[in-house]
Amino acid sequence: MKLVTPVSVPVLSVRDLCVDARTPEGRRHVLKDVSFDLNPGETLCIAGESGSGKSVTSLSIMQLLPKASLQIASGSIKLADRELTNLSNRAMRSVRGGDIAMVFQEPMTSLNPVLSIGTQLTEAIREHQVTEGGKAETIARQMLDAVHITEPGRRLTQYPHELSGGMRQRVMIAMALSCRPKVLIADEPTTALDVTVQAQILKLMRELKREFGASIVLITHDMGVVAEMADRVAIMQNGRIIEQGSALTVFERPTELYTRQLLAAVPRLGAHAGTDGPPRVGSEVARGEVPDRSPVLLVRNLNVAYGSPTRWLFKGKPPVSAVTDVSFELRPGETLGLVGESGSGKSTTGKAVLGLIPFTGDVVIDGKNIGGLSARQMQPIRRSAQMIFQDPYASLDPRMAVGAAIAEPLIIHGLANKGERDDRIAELLRRVGLQADAASRYPHEFSGGQRQRICIARALALEPKLIVADESVAALDVSVRARVLDLMLELQETMGLAYLFISHDMAVIERMSHNVAVMRAGRIVEMGTRREVFESPKDEYTRALMAAVPIPDPRARNII
């Protein structure tokens, strides 16, 4: 592999970086000889397998590796000509946030739960730019505006748990951008965002680059985004950079097998135009013709409002309606794709449908109206209806080994005895593309994508009739994603599973759905078969969505 000759002095230069993980079983290499340069004003996209070391690379640069378990074994990281690996903590402080800013992969756990969004935003601004009190606030509001968060004024006073996943991610981005860093490292910054917002964010990053000459390291698995943004691309696998080159070269003349597989697996919007259902994956296995076509999920006039009931001396905030008058139905063997703006109420709908949050209206699962059921009464229903949560890290018990976490549903519902259980776990892990040894590790020892797969495995363990999948493949690299999606389709074919599939990735929705619903501001603005919605969108917002989908081809870049 030949390195691209730098045009000028690189702002960031990583040489032969090796990172080891300390585990009870001894040291394990996580990064091996990672080298790359980042030139001024350049965007380097790092793509690659989930768990290949992308996040670890970025954390190494920031000197933020969890010291307890990960350590830089050798190598150098240079910012201009400052060596970062042995910089004092104090000196590193001014580098962080000021010179290099970072957007972390998991937005929920990365925001401080007890501080308001406003505080968290303004403190970085105050730290790095000398501003008077009022001004930081103004900048913060502008930044929220820039990442297209509605009602920025109100958001500043809200707390992380009151925001949707996508909104949290945008807050993270706003936070990173607010100090106009020289280098921006963004780890999957748009995973949780719908394409229109994603487009805007990408635009914002490009502007930053243009206006301030910032350089960007963008970690993403979305080859569309890569194609749109990258000047250069690095592909990682197994802790190494296996291929590196200009965007055009990598996209058009990939040398490595993995890269080629990766590109081949990229879904393209419109690939399934003209068909009604998702493609069959189960070759000739007869699709279990489900005789009973009565809906497995029936939703009528669902309304959800957030707000706190008044408790003790505190007056609750006035309730905010998150979902308004949502109705739909889902039959066995069908997938309803739910797309829409971030914060439009998709996750809320998903949770309400499973009775995890209070709602009004009717939700009928498998013929039973779940309104007002007690936890005990819900138990049998839980078996047939499962959810894969949007934020995988937060939804795993940090103190429970992954194997045990997957075994949970089996134990709860009394399926499989102990012996069978281990086999089931191994089987489930294999199916989502994880090694069997993952069972004995803990959630924090996994990469974002790996955690997401753990959550999928957990939901599948019960073989439910209905799965609410909330951005379930968002953090997966395309190859794994394709595998997981195939798995889901296969299960649907063999077992007649129904999916409520929440995603912002239009290509994925196209691939998975029979029907599609588009949400905006708590309402379904358009609903129909996939073909109707994709090929002749009626709502203006739907049309905007379609237009914003990035195309995985650097030549087709719409904005430079």
Binding site: A21, R22, T23, P24, A68, S69, M108, H161, K351, L354, L356, A375, R376, M378, Q379, I381, R382, R383, Q386, M387, F389, D391, A394, S395, L396, D397, P398, R399, M400, A401, E408, P409, I412, H413, Y442, H444, E445, C455, R458, L462
Partner: protein, 282 residues
């Protein structure tokens, strides 16, 4: 086994473990080790003026104000104090955990009632309860242990309550609910492990304080009755002698401290070993 092995790898924990085992062995083997009977008020154990004797060859750690051998009393006192420190304190922590976790988790009437009950118990002067029990029951080691347990669980409950309230809001609990896990499972498989650090801190710090509390109870007349020695009552009986006979305060104080510290070292190690997010630390 894994836990034990991990523990043996850490010097501090190893030290703690050794001391803990040693103290327990001392307590069990007290009659074999003790040079004198713990209750023997020896003629030459007091000066002619009636002052206790400082440490010497004859009396390793000196004598107390009745001319008894302090070393022998400390050995036998270990039996009492270990029961108090481990059993009484252990029960208190267990009750506290149980009530605290339930009141923090359950909403509605039951949770509220539990917490108000805890509030009531907390607002109630514990010592008064002890005094009344002293008058109504015949004080014995086990009754003392029971009283201490009844008095001490309240604080643990309160702390656990607050922590549980925070934990319940975490997403993984929601996820667990969506899997259909019952309250029991959520409480004991998912919330409880997160409370272990708190339980361990209270469990180990509580050893020293309960041992001393026993002494306070002695003073109120509900402690173990004389002449049965306990570390607490040895120190309490002679605390005003800190100038005149410092060994009477120093040695029992040191052994309480050492024991509590050792339990704590073991507890800390245990906490780290049980906490997966701390895995890999040396």
């Amino acid at each position: 086994m894994r836990v034990l092995k991990a523990m043996l790898r850490q010097p501090a924990a190893l030290f703690g473990l050794i001391v803990v085992v040693a103290v327990m062995a001392m307590a069990i083997a007290a009659p074999l080790i003790a040079p004198y009977s713990p209750d023997n008020q020896m003629f030459d154990g007091l000066t002619l003026e009636g002052a206790p004797m400082p440490p010497s060859e004859q009396f390793l750690l000196g004598t107390d104000t009745l001319g008894r051998d302090l070393f022998s009393r400390l050995l036998f006192g270990a039996r009492t104090s270990l029961v108090i420190g481990l059993v009484a304190n252990g029960i208190a922590v267990a009750i506290g955990l149980f009530i605290g976790i339930l009141s923090g988790y359950l909403r509605g009437i039951v949770g509220n009632l539990l917490m108000r009950f805890t509030d009531l118990m907390m607002a109630f002067p514990a010592l008064l309860l002890a005094i009344v029990l002293a008058a109504l029951l015949r004080p014995s080691l086990w009754i003392v242990a029971m009283v201490i347990a009844l008095v001490n669980w309240v604080q643990v409950a309160r702390i656990v309550y607050t922590e549980t309230r925070g934990l319940v809001e975490r997403d993984f609990i929601l996820a667990e609910r969506s899997l259909g896990a019952g309250h029991f499972r959520i409480l004991f498989m998912h919330i409880l492990p997160h409370l272990m650090p708190t339980a361990i801190v209270w469990g180990t710090l509580g050893i020293a304080t309960t041992v001393l509390l026993e002494a306070t109870l002695s003073f109120l007349g509900i402690g173990v009755q004389p002449p049965q020695p306990s570390w607490g009552n040895i120190i309490f009986e002679s605390q005003s002698y800190f100038q005149a006979a410092p060994w009477l305060v120093f040695f029992p104080g040191a052994i309480i401290l050492l024991t509590a510290l050792s339990f704590n070292l073991v507890g800390d190690a245990l906490r780290d070993i049980l906490d997966p997010t701390q895995r890999g630390r040396g």
